[in-house]
Structure formats: structure tokens, C-alpha cells
Symmetry: D2
Subunit: 134 residues, 4 copies
């Protein structure tokens, strides 16, 4: 994958709590891993979502999507490849690929986030975030 957008890989191990009676990971939990992936991407770039919030900004998810290709099971070690791209000065999109071992793609997803202030009003993304992902 050749890409010029900022990206990062992070690992998660499937918790028993994340499985369901089909004995695979419950589908909603992938969105939690996406959260782990994008927060680690931000951290790898010198930002943290914690400090963004401490500065009065929030980045709620306004769209989320996931294609499930394979099942993941308890104790599996998964890699989440996350990349980010500015959609506008106030919106950012993250793309995720969840893999088991090196090359089995388990799921592919995306989330779109809008920057809002504490009153929920749309605002510009922090300058540092706009520079990184612009």
C-alpha cells in the first residue's frame, strides 16, 4: 500500500468480553478497536485526544462503517492499520484495516469526525491536526 497520508499500526488481543455466543468477536467491538487505532495514530504524531479535549475541543463520530471479511476469535492478536485524512477544516476521516497474522484481512472500516466545542457547535480542527492530516 503506497500512501502519503499519516498512518500507524497498533495491536490488540481479543478479550473474552469482546466475543459473543457465535464464538467470534461481536461486530460492534470493531468500532472500539478503531478508536484505539486512531488514538494511537494521533499519539504517534505527537498529539493525544486527551489534550485535544482538555483544550475544549471534541471530535465526535458522525459516521461509522465497517465491512467484515473474516471472523476474529478470543485471544487472536490483531493489527489495526489506521490512516487519517482531512475532509475539510472541520472534519477528518480515518480508515482502518484489521488484520490477523500478516495478511489475513479481517475487517475494513472508516469513521468520520466533526470538531465541536463544549457547547456542541462546529469549530475548526486544531491547527496541529490540520497540518498533520491536510
Amino acid at each position: 500500500m503506497t500512501e502519503s497520508v499519516p498512518s500507524h499500526e497498533t495491536s490488540v488481543r481479543v478479550r473474552y468480553a469482546e466475543t459473543d455466543a457465535m464464538q467470534v468477536v461481536y461486530h460492534a467491538n470493531y468500532f472500539v478497536w478503531f478508536e484505539v487505532g486512531r488514538c494511537d495514530l494521533l499519539r504517534s504524531l505527537g498529539q493525544t485526544y486527551r489534550t485535544i479535549e482538555a483544550a475544549g475541543l471534541m471530535l465526535p463520530v458522525i459516521e461509522a462503517q465497517c465491512d467484515y471479511r473474516r471472523s476474529a476469535r478470543y485471544d487472536d492478536e490483531l493489527t489495526i492499520h489506521t490512516s487519517g485524512k482531512l475532509l475539510s477544516s472541520a472534519r477528518i476521516r480515518f480508515d482502518y484495516e484489521v488484520r490477523r497474522a500478516k495478511d489475513t484481512v479481517v475487517a475494513i472500516g472508516r469513521t468520520v469526525h466533526a470538531a465541536v466545542n463544549r457547547d456542541g457547535r462546529p469549530v475548526r480542527l486544531p491547527a496541529a491536526v490540520r497540518e498533520i492530516f491536510g
Copy 2:
């Protein structure tokens, strides 16, 4: 909304467990409510997902998507309007609209499910399900 597809409305009250530090519902939890909505839709049509699984069939989610329009908060009473539509003899799609009070749309989503047997192999949906949603 005029529609000829089978549909159903179900209610959920937001649990504290479902909120996050933004003091709104964590986005992944909408997919759990979608599960509640489609299982209640099946039940309203004389089927239950429990009996479908007991007969050896599973309907894993192969795609999930949600647009978030408004925040939902702790203790909010929400209505989930769910409708279903056959995509093929082996795939079914459900559409969801989450509303607060009568007319505030909180979120709109969809899930696509494939019928598989206990070995994970694709199979036809149960005849009863195909008749209802076909």
C-alpha cells in the same frame, strides 16, 4: 413513511453504561440497539433469532454503517424503527432509524447479514425469513 417492507418499532432507555466521557452515548452502542431492533422485528413476525440459531443457522453481520445526527444522553427514551429487505436468497439487509421523542432523528443506520451454517459456509436463509422479507 409509506413502505411495504416489514418493519417494527422498539424502545430502549439509555443506560449509564452506554454513555462515555463526552456525556453522550458512545457511538458503537448504536449497533447494539440495532441488534435489539432487528431481533424485535423478527419476533414481531413470528420468528426469533434464537430459534434460527437453534436450527443451525447464523446471521453474522457482514456490513454495518451508521450516520449520527444528534447526541443521545443517559436516561433518554429512544425509538428504534427497523425494517428488513432480502438482498438475495442468502443475504438480508436491515435499516434503522433511531428517534428521540416523536420526530428528532438521532441516528440512521443499516446492517447486512449473510446466512451461514455452523461451519461458517454460506447457505440460504430460512424459508420463513425469505417469505417475510422477499
Copy 3:
């Protein structure tokens, strides 16, 4: 059960999201149902946890305990019997019994809560709560 303490019964249906790979409910989820039980108990007595928080008070859990007697499975309808009792002017204890059908006890638990203000400092429980559970 003869009791003079305020109590209430509430129903939950097991969500697929709440099950795990053992094909029973994941144990941590009982604490979420306990939350549903105590909030419904408060509501049945004319209070809501939402209004308690809106008044600047929070009731974080300072102890939680559960004995698991039987498994609960997907789609089971469970009854949560909740009762509450003041431990001091600043602490309250809730007891829970989760049953399936009329008489199968699935789990028995308790939580203890301390009243704190927005700064996390201990304060007295609201007068209405102290009167009800005293």
C-alpha cells in the same frame, strides 16, 4: 420475602452483545443490569438518577459484588429484583436478585454507592433519597 425496604422489579432481555464465547452472559454485564435495576427502583419512588446528577450530585459505585448461580443465555427474559438501604447519610447499598422465570435464581449481587459533588468530595445524599431508604 418479607421486607420493609423499598424494592422494585424490572425486566431485561439478554442481548446478543451481552453473551460471550461460552454462549452465556459475560459476567461483567450483570453489573450493567444492576444499574438498570437501581435506576428503575429510584424512578418507581419518584426520583431519577438523571435529576440527582442534574442537581450536582453523583453516586459512584464504591463496591460491587456478584455471586453467579446459573448461566443466562441469549434472549432469556430475566427479572431483576432490587432493594435499597441507607448505610449512612452519605452511603447507600442496593441488593439485587436476578431470576429467570419465576423461581430460578441466576445471580445475587450488591453495590455500595457514595454521594459526591462535582469535585468528587463526599456529601450527604439528597434529603428525598435519605427519607425513602432511611
Copy 4:
């Protein structure tokens, strides 16, 4: 802490999904971290819960308890110190201490587990587990 029982330390970083509207970790999620702690303890001793289950044995939680001393917040790095001790040939107890930084104790808990076979009948713990924790 001088102890002769097998023990292990594992780290978790608080996910946004694990917080609630009080802007701290929702109490039930500590039991999920306890699961992470005891599975890592088993792994550190050459066992995995995955292989125990693959051999036909399960270790459901029959009791769970937690004392909450401090709040944990989004993005906090926590250490879970887990130790295990055989209660009988069929039961095992794990104790947990969750700390932030080196010395702030956030929570202290325990879980008790019974060994059962796939039919849910009580059986002896695997010999390797009995030897390690006996």
C-alpha cells in the same frame, strides 16, 4: 508485597469506550481488565485460557467483587497486578490490584472460578493449573 503465589503485572490504557458520563471508567469495566490480568498471568506461566477451553474445560466466574478506591480516566495507563491461588481441586481464586502510576491504588478485586466441562458439570482443574497455583 512478599508473596509466594504466582503473580503477574499487565498494563491497560483506558479506552474512551470504557468511560461513562461521570467522565471516569464505568465500574463494570474493571472486571474486563481483571479478565485481561488473569489471562496474561496464565500466559506468563505457560498456559493459555484458549488452550484450556480447547481441551474441553471452561472456568466460568462464580463470584466477582471489586472495591473502588479512586477514579480512572480516559487515556490513563493502569497496571493490573494479578495473583492466583487454588481453593480446591475444582476452584481457583484470582486477586487483582489496579494501580495508576507506581503507587496509587485505583481498585482491588477478586474473582472465583469453577472448572466445568462442556456440559457445565464440575470437573477438576487441569493438572498443570493445579500444580502452578496449588
